[in-house]
Symmetry: C2
Subunit: 168 residues, 2 copies
C-alpha cells in the first residue's frame, strides 16, 4: 500500500465523473475481466480466469511501495485499473521513480477520457504525494494508439523496454 496517495479521488471526464480508489479483494472478478479484455494481454495468457489472480492481488495489496487502484464510474462499475510502485533510486541524482504498470480501461469505455484522467492524476497528484521525480512505464511496441496517448500526455518515448520471461 502507498498510504500517501490522496485516495479516494474524484476525476472529471467528458462522460461524467469517475472515482479512483484502492482495489480490494472484492474487486478480483472485475480486475480479472479487465486484464483479459485486451487482445495483447490475452495473447500473453491473461484469460480473465480469477483463479490466476487471487494470490497476486493479495501480494500486491500487501506489498510496501505498491498500490493497485481501480476507477469506478457513477454507476459503481469498475472501468479501469493501474498499479503504482514507488522506487527510491540512485540515478538521476537520487530521483524517486513512480512506476506505472498494467494500465487497463474496459474495452467498452475506451476513448472516453478515463485513461487520460487517470494518468494526469498519476503524473500530478500521485507523483507529488509520493515525492517522485520521474514517472515511468513501458508499453508494448504493438500498442501504437497507446504511444500517441502517452506522448500527448507529456511522456518522452526515450527508452527501449526489454523483457525476459524466466524459464521460457
Amino acid at each position: 500500500m502507498l498510504p500517501a496517495l490522496p485516495l479516494p479521488a474524484s476525476l472529471e471526464t467528458a462522460h461524467g465523473p469517475v472515482q479512483v480508489r484502492r482495489a480490494t479483494p472484492g474487486d478480483l472478478p472485475a480486475l480479472a475481466r479487465l486484464l483479459g479484455d485486451d487482445p495483447i494481454s490475452a495473447a500473453r495468457g491473461d484469460s480473465g480466469d480469477i483463479a490466476d489472480y487471487r494470490a497476486a492481488l493479495d501480494a500486491v495489496l500487501a506489498a510496501p511501495g505498491n498500490d493497485l487502484l481501480v476507477a469506478v464510474d457513477a454507476g459503481g462499475t469498475v472501468v479501469g485499473t493501474l498499479q503504482l510502485t514507488v522506487i527510491p533510486g540512485m540515478a538521476r541524482r537520487g530521483a524517486t521513480r513512480l512506476l506505472v504498470e498494467a494500465v487497463r480501461v474496459a474495452s467498452t469505455r475506451r476513448s472516453s477520457g478515463i485513461g487520460g484522467a487517470l494518468m494526469r492524476w498519476v503524473m500530478r497528484d500521485a507523483a507529488l504525494a509520493t515525492g517522485a521525480g520521474l514517472v515511468q512505464l513501458t508499453s508494448d511496441a504493438a500498442r501504437t494508439d497507446a504511444h500517441r496517448f502517452y506522448t500527448r500526455l507529456g511522456f518522452a518515448d526515450s527508452h527501449i523496454g526489454f523483457k525476459y520471461t524466466v524459464g521460457a
Copy 2:
C-alpha cells in the same frame, strides 16, 4: 533489502572473478563515481557529487522490495552496480516482476564481461530466489551497444519505455 537474494555471489568473467554483494553506506563514493562515469547519465545531471546520493542510498537500502548491489573485483575495487526491485503484479497471470535499474560498469572495465556476468546472475539466480516470472529493464534509445548486449542475453526489445520528468 531483498533477503532472498543469494549474496554474496562469486561470478567468473574472462578477466577474473568478481564478487556481487549488497551495497553499504561506505560504497557511496564509488557509487557516485559510477553514476557520473557515463555521458548519457552525466547529461541528466549525474555529476558524481556524493551529496546528491547520500539520502537516496539510505532510502534504497531501507526500502522493502529493493536491493542495491555492487560488483567488486579481486583487488577490492567496486567496478559495477545495479538496483533490483521485486514487484508483485496482476498482469501476465499474476506474474512477479524483477525490475533492473541503474546498471553501470566502470568505463575502464567495460567489455570485460562484468555486465554480462551480472545480468546472467540476475536472470537466473536472482529471478529464481525472488520468484520472478519476468525480468524487465529499460535502456535509453541512444545506448545502441547496450541494446545489442541485452538482446544477446535473451531479452526481447518488445516495449517502448516512456518517462515523464515531474515539474520539468
